[in-house]
Symmetry: C2
Subunit: 297 residues, 2 copies
């Protein structure tokens, strides 16, 4: 169970290391791992140097790299290599790697070569790559055929996938074909958490883990309990409240409110903060669900 | 008339400064300006540092910045600022700026804020931004309403657009609404060169400028001549020969062949070189059109 950690910005839109570290600590306390620099982290809105500085902040604060899976897939081969090498050097459990996403309609040959170049150049047996399949955003899907080929050539390194396609039949196909080989399938939303675990999968990496971490982690830990379906339904209601708004701005608005720290609401362009009315509607809807963020600093 | 200059790579996939500079020199001799780091340049497959090093190579070789319009729009605000600042510092005529392209379905408010942040932070009266509208690839369109708003707030800085939508009605709308205000409309392909010039536009920025520069520049210079339609038809035939294949690989294959320099064919992942059969078919089809690249080093 991991969350793409939202990235706080200061009033000059610089990544805020202190708020970031505090939020990461809180997530770990709730039982949630740190998939920093994901889609919901505005990871691609940060330069490689900014991402490395944030990783260094976590290291200096003594947070455990074994609980980290930074997003390191960039458009430029050299950027992906630099960032991935840094993450491996820190001892991160793995990296979550988008395919290069500027060109659309690229071939599996081209995507294979992209991952292969990165793996060969990093040449570190501690490298664990989790593929990141998020066609609604990247517009560059990772096909089952590509996974099969990568697993055949780099069995120790290709460690799993985050499936953010929203297409359960795709998740199911990967659970059946690849999970038995030790390839960890993570759903891209807690909406599919119970189904993924029942299908033998590894869990989920989910945006709302930023705001609702403990209940999601609890279902992950106790999914065989009798009340699992009811717990899943409760998670789905919170998720739906956030999904009624642009997700990243909504996550940050909720944190800003519950931490009494308005600066947390800031997003980097091209994203935009919730309007006052949207924010009120979100908080009202969350209050109606009895939502809270206990222990948030 | 400019071309998104293709970027040569050495056998380790590093940008090759010497080949790059030579190709830029040849393009200038043919009457074509340098829109380096465009889509056909694999610009987004290069890190910011690699792009700055290539700009420095052109500067050291004494090429005129007044003929340069580097692509500087990245996903990360800080990357776009760093690269744009460098281009302005070099004295480049302008920059061709993609919107941040990772998130899809972003609002005009968010895109406006993205361009505004860059303009305000660079704060240089020599900054000239040409917007880059290429929805088939970026998947993030630049609407007429956004152009209008940017022009109203930053009239001296927002200098024009490259329209690679392939949708002539969109180009036409921009020619009618914005070109009269001195906002330069460039077609994204020489296929629309004559129509754009007849509509009062500024010309085109086109991939095939890399391989067929002189005939394209000649139509640009003599578009009022009686034989303009016949020249346009001849350009279209060469364009079609390249478009039958993945464009970037095809451009590089043609240069590799005509420069007798196989290394030129290399592309960076996620792209892939033409197969031997594709390369033969391309060269055969070009030979049938009497195609040549005179003066290519």
């Amino acid at each position: 169970m991991l969350s793409p950690v939202v990235t706080p910005f200061d009033s000059a839109l610089r990544p805020d290391r202190a708020r970031f570290t505090r939020h990461c600590q809180w997530l770990l306390e709730q039982g949630v791992g740190l998939a920093v620099f994901g889609t919901n982290s505005e990871g691609n809105s940060l330069s490689v140097a900014e991402k490395i500085a944030l990783l260094e902040a976590l290291r200096e604060a003594g947070l455990p790299p074994a609980r980290m899976m930074p997003g390191t897939g960039c458009c430029a081969l050299t950027d992906s290599i630099e960032l991935t090498r840094h993450a491996v050097g820190l001892g991160c459990a793995g990296v979550l790697m988008l395919p290069p996403f500027y060109y659309k309609g690229v071939s599996d040959d081209g995507l294979f070569r992209s991952y292969a170049e990165i793996i060969e150049r990093i040449a570190d047996r501690n490298l664990r790559i989790y593929l990141y399949h998020i066609p609604p955003v990247s517009q560059v899907p990772i096909s089952l055929a590509l996974i099969e080929r990568l697993l055949r050539v780099y069995p120790g390194t290709i460690a799993g996938i985050k499936d953010s396609s929203g297409d359960w039949s795709n998740t199911q196909a990967m659970l059946e074909r690849f999970q038995p080989q030790g390839f960890d399938v993570f759903a891209g939303s807690e909406t599919f958490l119970l189904a993924t675990l029942r299908g033998g999968g590894a869990g989920c990496i989910t945006a709302t883990g930023n705001v609702n971490p403990r209940p999601i982690a609890q279902l992950f830990e106790q999914w065989r309990d009798a009340d699992a379906d009811a717990r899943q339904a409760a998670l789905d209601r919170v998720r739906a409240a956030f999904q009624a708004f642009p997700m990243i701005a909504a996550l940050k608005a909720a944190i800003a409110h519950h931490a009494t720290d308005p600066q947390w609401a800031t997003v980097r362009p091209p994203l935009f903060e919730l309007s006052g009315a949207q924010q009120e509607a979100l908080l009202r809807s969350l209050a109606g669900l009895g939502f809270s963020m206990p222990g948030l600093a």
